[in-house]
């Protein structure tokens, strides 16, 4: 058997013998997808609220009941005085407080106008805003119901259509994101750590002194991880489709091709990092800070990119995951072809060229 294949075989054996790492490499993507699918959501339901109702007439009770039966709110505490508000918020038990004036029903009947106060725990501004919006909408509905006269007010009805994802499943957003993260993790981080490990332990020198060419060493080391990432990607996609009902409207060949391109870019990045790191720890931290964190945070996977400051949006453009995210969503969810995705594919291709060039230049075949 020629020496290159022997080398690759050795690398495969190395990995397969390390059961623990293998377990984690396969377990992590599965755990993540399941976590995102079943556990992590921003949907707000059953939020604990407190009600301070000094008037307790049929109107205020009616409004309170309407809010509580919506499913968004759950009565945690009935307050008797305003002094109870601060402690209730401070223990973190309630997210919103509904405060009525002492003569709610009367004001409505006589002056056609009454106030209610909504106090949100804005330490989490998003939850506070969402809860206040929900409550505000429900109060307006209630107001509408109370006015038994025929429509004297113009109402604009809004018909909302959710394109591509009518059931608004969050899985559509995160399965592609998890794919980018896992592929980056395995292809880049593991590769960089493996090569750095050989350097740290000292066996790299042995390899360099062997008749194997440096390019063969690199390819040999990374081939098993490529195979592993590919398996991981397939697993994640399958779980997304069969467990969470994600669609696959586009061409499988295109998906495979784009994934291969992305994995190649990640690989080159991993190699590049390994040329700069002297120890495994260094490689790991460089990968973590330079690849994982930005991929998770800036690629638009969890947090929407439009809300980020300009600087971070520009930085996000330099991350392969950002483009790959768009590609996967395009292929799987929209079902579009290369015609719509040529730009993103081109960017990934360009990145591949840049990183492989950089890696080849920094790879030294002598140990300094």
């Amino acid at each position: 058997m020629n020496r290159f294949s022997a080398f690759i075989l050795k690398e495969f054996r190395h990995i397969l013998r390390d059961r623990r790492t293998l377990l984690i490499l396969f377990g992590m993507p599965v755990a993540q997808v399941l976590l995102f699918g079943f556990v992590l959501t921003n949907e707000i339901k059953n939020a604990a609220i407190a009600v301070l109702d000094p008037s307790k007439d049929s109107q205020s009770i009616g409004l309170t009941n309407k809010l509580l039966s919506s499913g968004y709110f759950r009565l945690e505490q009935n307050l008797t005085s305003a002094e109870g508000l601060e402690p209730a918020f401070r223990t973190g038990k309630i997210k919103l407080a509904l405060v009525f004036p002492p003569d709610f029903g009367q004001s409505l009947a006589h002056d056609s106008k009454a106030q209610v106060q909504l106090i949100g725990d804005a330490s989490d501004p998003n939850t506070a805003t969402t809860l206040i919006n929900y409550a505000g909408a429900i109060i307006q509905d209630w107001q509408q119901e109370q006015n038994t006269q025929p429509a004297t007010q113009p109402i604009i009805q809004t018909q909302i259509r959710m394109l591509y994802n009518p059931e608004m499943k969050s899985v559509y957003g995160f399965v592609p994101g998890v794919m980018t993260l896992i592929l980056m993790l395995v292809s880049a981080m593991m590769t960089s750590i493996t090569i750095a490990r050989e350097k740290e332990i000292g066996t790299m020198e042995v390899l360099l002194a062997s008749p194997l060419k440096p390019i063969q060493i690199i390819l040999g080391k990374t081939a098993p991880y490529l195979a592993l990432s590919f398996v991981n990607a397939v697993v994640v996609v399958l779980i997304g489709i069969f467990v969470f009902g994600m669609p696959m409207r586009g061409s499988i060949a295109l998906l495979a091709g784009e994934s291969a391109l992305y994995m190649f870019v990640a690989l080159c990045l991993g190699i590049f990092i390994s040329t700069k790191a002297a120890t495994q720890q260094q490689a790991m931290f460089m990968s973590a800070m330079g690849l994982m964190m930005p991929t998770m945070l800036l690629s638009g996977f969890i947090f929407p990119r439009e809300s980020m400051p300009q600087v971070l949006q520009i930085l996000g453009n330099a991350i392969p995951a950002t483009w790959f995210n768009v590609i996967i969503k395009g292929v799987m969810i929209k079902g579009v072809g290369l015609r719509y995705l040529w730009f993103q594919t081109g960017v990934l291709g360009l990145m591949a060229l840049i990183f492989i060039g950089l890696s080849m230049r920094s790879f030294k075949d002598r140990l300094e």
């Binding site: 804005a122 113009p154 604009i156």
Partner: protein, 376 residues
């Protein structure tokens, strides 16, 4: 006395290790900056396409409401629905507002009209928020029309009683500017300190095992507890340093409120660290190589971080997940930081949290000591 020499050795090693030092200082700051600025679920600058078939004063006024709003950015105004949809296919548009012909006429004659909003819902959460904001704007516009008394509806008999209006006054406590960073930074700080210390502890012990110096320690007369103290104390001190730096950056760069007692913060940090250090230690007992330790630690820490309440609220998780989260140390730390720094909570409010953490630390460290074997 022995412990003192061990500490000396550890600190020497730490300061000589070129990666370690910058890591301890740079990584927290880097993460804090990156995460705090990026982590923002607020939706702004959504690209919007308006398809206006009516072109009446009413439709123009409605459109103007979106122009002034920072959540939306009107990218194009067109007659063609097809063109607008094409914009969504190419990812250039996020949502479309379509105003049908006869919008103003319907408002004037029937007293009601309808518009259509189409959103790219691949990112369900973004679409949901966009829908809420857009819906709110349209609703406000409706309300405005009522108050102005325009387009009251000719076919409708105007009754003499005014419609009852409930005026909603809302206020936001603890974060009146609704600044997302104020919310994120304390939590991030808690997460970073936990992450780094857990990692360092695990890696440190495994590294010694991998390069063989642990054998040398094992043949010395030091006892298990001295060994552990020698490993824990340096990182314990480092954790307090990171916390200090983090709080300083938080105050100077992000101007986070520091409502509660700082003594409480440091005290809790000191009490909390054995928890994550114990975890690191436990992981190191089962790993033969740094790579294994790294990956095991990564696996658990990533799950802990995702579930700790930083990215998504703990209350939104299904009940069984919230129960599992009781085993998540980082969740406790994040909750503590938020309660104390943002709301000024005192010892009374956090004591349950603290006791849970102390119990956790006792169990984890007990397990770690029990599974530590001097021989492989």
């Amino acid at each position: 006395m022995t412990v003192f020499y061990l500490l000396q050795k550890e600190f020497l090693q730490i300061f000589r290790n070129k990666t370690m030092l910058p890591l301890i200082v740079v990584m927290p700051i880097f993460q804090m900056l990156l995460l705090s600025f990026a982590a923002n679920y607020e939706v702004q600058n959504l690209a919007m396409s308006i398809v206006d078939h009516d072109l009446s004063p009413a439709s123009r006024q409605l459109t103007a409401k979106f122009e002034g709003n920072h959540h939306f950015r009107i990218r194009e105004t067109t007659f063609s629905q097809k063109q607008a949809l094409e914009g969504i296919s190419t990812n250039q548009t996020d949502l479309i507002l379509e105003i049908p012909a006869g919008f103003e006429r319907d408002l004037a004659r029937e007293g009601h009209a309808s518009v259509a909003l189409s959103m790219n819902a691949i990112d369900a959460q973004k679409a949901g928020l966009a829908g809420t904001y857009a819906g709110g704007i349209i609703r406000d516009f409706s309300q405005e029309l009522v108050e102005r008394g325009q387009w009251a509806g000719e076919n409708v008999t105007l009754s003499s009683t005014k419609p009852a209006v409930v005026e909603v006054v809302y206020s936001n406590w603890y974060n009146p500017k609704l600044d997302y960073k104020t919310f994120m930074v304390p939590g991030i700080l808690g997460e970073i300190v936990s992450l780094i210390i857990c990692f360092l502890t695990a890696m440190n012990i495994v590294r010694e095992r991998e390069i063989g110096t642990i054998e040398q320690l094992n043949v010395t007369p030091i006892r298990k507890w001295q060994f552990i103290a020698g490993k824990f104390i340096p990182f314990w001190i480092i954790s307090l340093v990171i916390m200090t730096v983090g709080l300083a950056v938080g105050k100077l760069v992000f101007d986070i409120p520091l409502l509660g007692s700082l003594w409480l913060v440091f005290g809790y940090t000191a009490a909390f660290m054995p928890c994550v250090m114990g975890l690191g230690f436990l992981i190191s007992n089962f790993a033969d190589t740094q790579q294994q330790a790294m990956f095991t630690a990564w696996f658990f820490l990533l799950i802990f971080i995702l579930m700790c309440g930083l990215f998504t609220p703990v209350e939104s998780m299904p009940h069984w997940a919230q129960v599992v989260n009781k085993l998540n140390p980082i969740a406790y730390f994040v909750e503590f930081m938020r309660l104390v720094l943002l709301k000024g909570a005192g010892f009374a409010e956090i004591k349950n949290n603290l006791f849970a953490v102390l119990g956790y630390a006792a169990v984890v460290n007990g397990l770690a000591v029990w599974t530590y074997r001097k021989r492989n």
